[in-house]
């Protein structure tokens, strides 16, 4: 026994597993205490073996598990004989963090009209609060927005922090951000969630910076780990990878959450809770920004293609101008816009500014529905980086199916109306008015 102990435990040398590095931004390099790592032009580490002291810091920090320790066969032999494991370093939790408690949801609204994502967040927040065994609270800021407090309760909040004053009539970064920072500093929540909408992302970025805490953007999954930390999962790299992100050392743990992803909380109007009224002194004169005018966009067919989140596109397979109305109906139900292939423009069915493709517009919506479009390369270049592509075509061999996430082999004139029908059916089941669906969530993550 004595003898074995004298043998020094080999530490090995860090090395890169080819193909695994995602070029995260040189985390390994910046954590290496010995400056043993240089980055190449592809953003991958080159480890200088003689400098590496085998401290494993890079291996631990690498989010892609792209680094591992390398041992020579002799070293490996020694290792195999050693059974005792070095004790795991105990994590030190900063003492101040324990003070922060509770899950907060920011209730987004435009002039009193709530965004659906807020209720989705209450649904998700409830799960987190339950695991942590803490309170679920809403934050409502605006002018004449008290009705949102009751709505928050009915969606599961047990407490609402309310700031109601004329200066909050329009959303403005300065006012809202000061309001939230004030509340957070006073009441110290451990988790603060907002919708990853235009407003949410504008606000969260400012709040997190002011509070000097971590913020995870556009999450699609939230969870609590065994130590009680929030695990935030989000897509990055254009949706090609998922990353799990944590905020370990600062509080609150903030994230913006992608709309449509979390399940909507069950509404129960009978629920009640406590309203905490707060006010903060902000004078209009000292504010740097003023909203001069609000211009409502024309709806439906005039919606701009480039910014649309959902595009229903038709090609020569639509057979005539009049048939585009079935696409318009579907688009209206989805809150989307109608596009087309060049063939449809050529035939005079659609105006040129609706053309998607090489000599038309390049679009990147969340959902692109190609109806009666064969998928010529000139069309594909304009839409193939859409998040999700649905193709409806009679011809099983049409190239459009090569890029489609979901394909339907069939007749557009039967499928499209049936889809519209199904959506209407689902909407009426939910009891909501047919239009309040996806359309009130603010522009989110992508364009």
């Amino acid at each position: 026994m004595e003898e074995v102990k004298k043998v020094k435990k080999p530490r090995g040398i860090a090395h890169l597993i080819p193909g695994k590095c995602i070029a995260c931004g040189a985390r390994c390099q910046s954590d290496c205490p010995e400056d043993a790592i240089e980055m190449n032009d592809k953003g991958e580490p080159i480890i200088t073996a003689v400098k590496c002291i085998g401290c494993k810091r890079c291996v631990k920090i690498c989010p892609a598990q792209a680094l591992e320790m390398y041992f020579t066969p002799e070293e490996q032999k020694i290792l195999d004989t050693m059974t005792d494991k070095a004790p795991e370093e105990a994590e030190v939790v900063e003492p101040g963090l324990k003070e922060y408690r509770g899950v907060w949801i920011f209730i987004e609204h435009t002039e009193g009209k709530p965004a659906t994502v807020s209720w989705e967040l209450l649904g998700e927040g409830a799960k987190l609060a339950k695991t942590l065994n803490v309170e679920l609270c809403s934050v409502v800021i605006g002018e004449n927005v008290e009705h949102l407090c009751q709505e928050s309760f009915s969606y599961g909040a047990s407490k609402v922090y309310l700031i109601d004053a004329p200066v909050f009539h329009h959303y403005r970064t300065e006012t809202f951000f000061r309001g939230i920072c004030y509340l957070v500093e006073k009441y110290k929540p451990e988790i603060l969630l907002m919708g990853a909408t235009g407003m949410g992302r504008d606000l969260a970025g400012a709040v997190a910076t002011k509070l000097q805490t971590g913020l995870t953007a556009d999450c699609t999954g939230l969870d609590i780990d065994e130590k009680g930390y929030l695990l935030q999962t989000r897509p990055a790299f254009g949706g090609n990878i998922m990353a799990t992100i944590m905020t370990e050392k600062t509080r609150p743990q903030m994230s913006t959450v992608r709309p449509h992803v979390m399940e909507l909380a069950k509404k129960d109007p009978s629920r009640i809770g406590a309203i905490v009224r707060e006010s903060i002194d902000i004078r209009e004169e000292e504010l740097p920004t003023r909203v001069i005018e609000v211009i409502e966009d024309a709806s439906g067919d005039q919606l701009d293609l480039a910014g649309a989140e959902i595009i229903v596109s038709g090609g020569r397979g639509m057979c005539g101008m009049e048939n585009f109305s079935i696409l318009q109906e579907l688009a209206d139900e989805l809150g989307g816009s109608v596009g087309c292939s060049r063939a449809a423009v050529e035939a005079g069915w659609m105006p040129p500014e609706r053309q998607v493709g090489q000599t038309g517009k390049t679009v990147r919506p969340k959902i692109y529905i190609a109806c009666g479009i064969s998928g010529a390369i000139q069309h594909l270049v304009g839409m193939q980086s859409s998040d999700l592509i649905i193709a409806i075509n009679q011809d099983r061999n049409a190239p459009i199916f090569e890029v489609a996430t979901y394909g339907i082999v069939g007749d557009v004139f039967q499928i499209v109306p049936a889809m519209t029908e199904r959506i209407r059916e689902l909407k009426s089941k939910k009891g909501g008015s047919p239009k309040n669906g996806s359309s009130n969530n603010g522009p989110s993550g992508k364009e």
């Binding site: 020569r316 063939a343 050529e346 035939a347 040129p352 090489q358 000599t359 038309g360 390049t362 998928g375 010529a376 390369i377 000139q378 594909l380 270049v381 190239p399 090569e402």
Partner: protein
């Protein structure tokens, strides 16, 4: 007294003419230098072939080409007579008509009659069957034709009166003699003296007027036509010259003096015959481009701005822009498909395409002005080396279902250069598969570069983005030489032309072969087991690719292949071979939106007149254009478009 007056008048007129010519010549010298003097022999041959043979005038089915041939040759003889006349006017005492051998008289007589006839026909034709453009009936033409006619009339009048007076031996002058005997037989001797004097002066004045009018009219081609053919490019104009990317240089042509002197001479030589525009796909589909007007505007710009340059002042008329006559608009420049039809039919060998590309270069390289669609196209080409910005690893997707070997130096003979269409475009990928099947069947040793293949850069060069083309070419050449590639099979005629003719300027000599040519060789060598008429293709109509045909002279190859596979000759469209009508995609037009009547639709309609079941092409651009055109004319259910390779692969045993 008379003697002095005539000497003075003649001297002044001739000096004036020389002065005009000199002024024109000085303007030419504003142009940049270019070497067009080497290879005297071949140049002389060109002159004989094109000028004295009037090859381009007579060919190409122009009804009145023969008339020009007659006029031209008459002029050649009259040149002699009139030179002599000028001498006589200048030095009345020393020289006389009798110095010429008598036998020449008869020739001159015949030439004069023919010229008179030709002039009449020309005038009548301008009245009865005017050319497609309105200015052809302008006064300019009638003035010139009238002067020539008058000259002939004076010539016969002079000689006839001299014969009548007995001053001239009539034996070798049958026409003048005839005139003398019919018209002047009763005229008194003294009056005849007046006649002689009057006709002499008429002849003198008309000749001198003609001489001095010439440099200012479109008939300047009488002076510059021959030298222009002499200086013409000795090879097919299938490439454009390189640019030197040094700081401080100016790129492309945005000002008239940045053209070469040969470009400027081209503009002087334009006969305004309008053949180029008659064959231009853009002009024919109502686009604003008209190659004749481009050349005309260059000339007008030179005449207007030239004097200012001469005095080192700023030009007054923009070369590119909306300045009216003398300016070429941007829209015009972007409409060209670089199909080369204009250059093919031009009787004085004007090179239109390089000028258009030069002006595009100015727009792109100096001013970054271009149609919006090209911005993304340029970015994709520069960053991803393909037109659509697709990731290079997708270049091998076409071959997922077959086994393809990478090219290995020493082991593989041919590189199959698939090209961007062949690699990425769903339709053309089928052609790539057909080619690989044939190559295997023919026992060819071939390989591909896969994801390392780069775009050849054809469209970049034609669109005037020479800077990026230059870089792409250098990258490409590095890969090709590093991999030890000597022989290349291309699928696309554009890759073919670029690798073969453009890359040569970079010192890279490759054996480039288009797939149709290779297939033809294999068939001829009996290496492809074919089932003649194995596939049901029906009536096969053939369409020539501009870059294969006009650019590289490969007309027979696809035809031979088709007839060996189908057992009979392909059906020709009305416009075929040298006069084939472009599909509309070349010159970077593939990447731009087309307004108005589409070129491809026009061509498809032409093909449909022949009632085909199959249209056979040999270029991925043509393939796309025909498929699209057939769909828009709703003929796609009756007619299919196939590449030559597909036809062959269907016929393989």
């Amino acid at each position: 007294m008379f003697i002095y007056i005539s000497t003075i008048i003649f001297a002044v007129a001739i000096l004036l003419f020389c002065w005009s010519c000199y002024k024109r010549f000085r303007l030419l010298m504003l142009g940049k230098s270019v070497d067009r003097f080497k290879d005297f022999g071949p140049r002389l041959k060109n002159v004989i072939f094109y000028v004295f043979g009037q090859r381009c005038t007579v060919n190409h089915g122009y009804r009145f080409g023969w008339n020009h041939l007659v006029l031209f040759w008459s002029f050649m003889f009259l040149l002699i007579a009139n030179t002599e006349f000028l001498f006589e006017g200048l030095f009345p005492d020393s020289v006389s008509f009798s110095m010429l051998p008598v036998s020449l008289y008869i020739l001159i007589e015949i030439a004069s009659v023919l010229a008179l006839l030709a002039v009449c026909i020309a005038m009548l034709r301008r009245l009865a069957f005017p050319p497609s453009y309105i200015e052809a009936r302008s006064m300019d033409a009638f003035v010139i034709l009238g002067l020539i006619a008058l000259l002939m009339v004076a010539f016969f009048g002079l000689h006839a009166s001299e014969i009548a007076k007995g001053e001239l031996e009539a034996t070798f002058m049958p026409v003048s003699n005839f005139v003398a005997s019919t018209l002047f037989s009763d005229v008194k001797q003294e009056t005849l003296n007046d006649y002689i004097e009057a006709f002499w002066w008429l002849h003198a004045i008309v000749l001198l007027a003609f001489l001095n009018y010439l440099p200012y009219s479109k008939h300047m081609h009488i002076l510059t036509g021959i030298p222009n053919v002499f200086f013409k490019s000795l090879t097919k104009v299938n490439t454009q010259i390189r640019e030197d990317f040094k700081k401080g240089n100016v790129f492309g042509v945005g000002q008239i003096n940045l053209f070469t002197w040969k470009d400027l001479m081209d503009s002087y030589s334009c006969t305004e015959c309008g053949r180029c525009s008659d064959n231009c796909p853009a002009t024919n589909t109502g686009k604003s481009l008209n190659p004749r007007l481009v050349i005309h505007d260059i000339k007008a710009n030179l005449l207007k701005n030239g004097p200012f340059f001469d005095n080192k002042k700023a030009p007054v008329l923009p070369l590119i822009g909306k300045g009216g006559e003398g300016s070429v608009s941007e829209e015009v420049l972007w409409s060209c498909t670089t199909c080369g039809a204009c250059m093919e039919v031009c009787p004085v060998s004007i090179e239109h395409v390089p000028k258009i590309v030069d002006m595009r270069r100015n727009l792109v390289e100096m001013n970054a002005k271009m149609p919006g669609e090209l911005l993304t196209f340029f970015e994709s080409m520069e960053q991803r080396s393909n037109p659509w910005g697709i990731v290079p690893s997708d270049r091998v997707k076409w071959a997922t279902d077959i086994t393809v070997k990478p090219f290995e130096a020493g082991k593989t003979e041919y590189l199959f250069y698939v090209g961007c269409f062949g690699a990425f475009d769903a339709r053309s990928r089928k052609v790539s598969l057909a080619i690989s099947k044939i190559l295997d069947a023919g026992g060819i040793s071939w390989g591909i570069l896969g994801k390392d293949e780069l775009c050849c850069g054809d469209s970049m060069r034609r669109l005037g983005n020479e800077f990026v083309f230059d870089r792409m070419t250098k990258d490409n050449i590095k890969i090709l030489t590093d991999k030890g590639i000597k022989k290349i099979i291309t699928q696309c005629p554009h890759c073919f032309n670029t690798l073969k003719n453009d890359y040569r300027q970079y010192g890279l000599e490759l054996e480039v072969i288009h797939h149709t040519e290779l297939i033809n060789n294999l068939i001829k060598a009996g290496k492809l087991p074919l089932n003649v008429n194995g596939a049901d293709l029906g009536n096969v109509v053939i369409h020539d690719s501009c870059y294969l045909g006009r650019y590289n002279g490969l007309y027979d190859v696809p035809r031979e292949v088709i007839s060996s596979v189908t057992g009979r000759a392909a059906t020709e469209m009305d416009r075929c071979l040298e006069k084939s009508f472009c599909c509309g995609a070349g010159g970077g037009r593939m990447w731009m939106e087309e307004e108005g009547k589409r070129i491809n639709v026009t061509r498809v309609e032409e093909a449909l007149k022949k009632d085909p079941k199959t249209v056979c092409v040999s270029c991925p651009y043509c393939l796309t254009m025909f498929e699209d055109g057939l769909k828009s004319t709703k003929a796609d259910d009756k007619v299919q478009v196939l590449d030559v390779a597909e036809i062959v692969s269907m016929g393989l045993k």
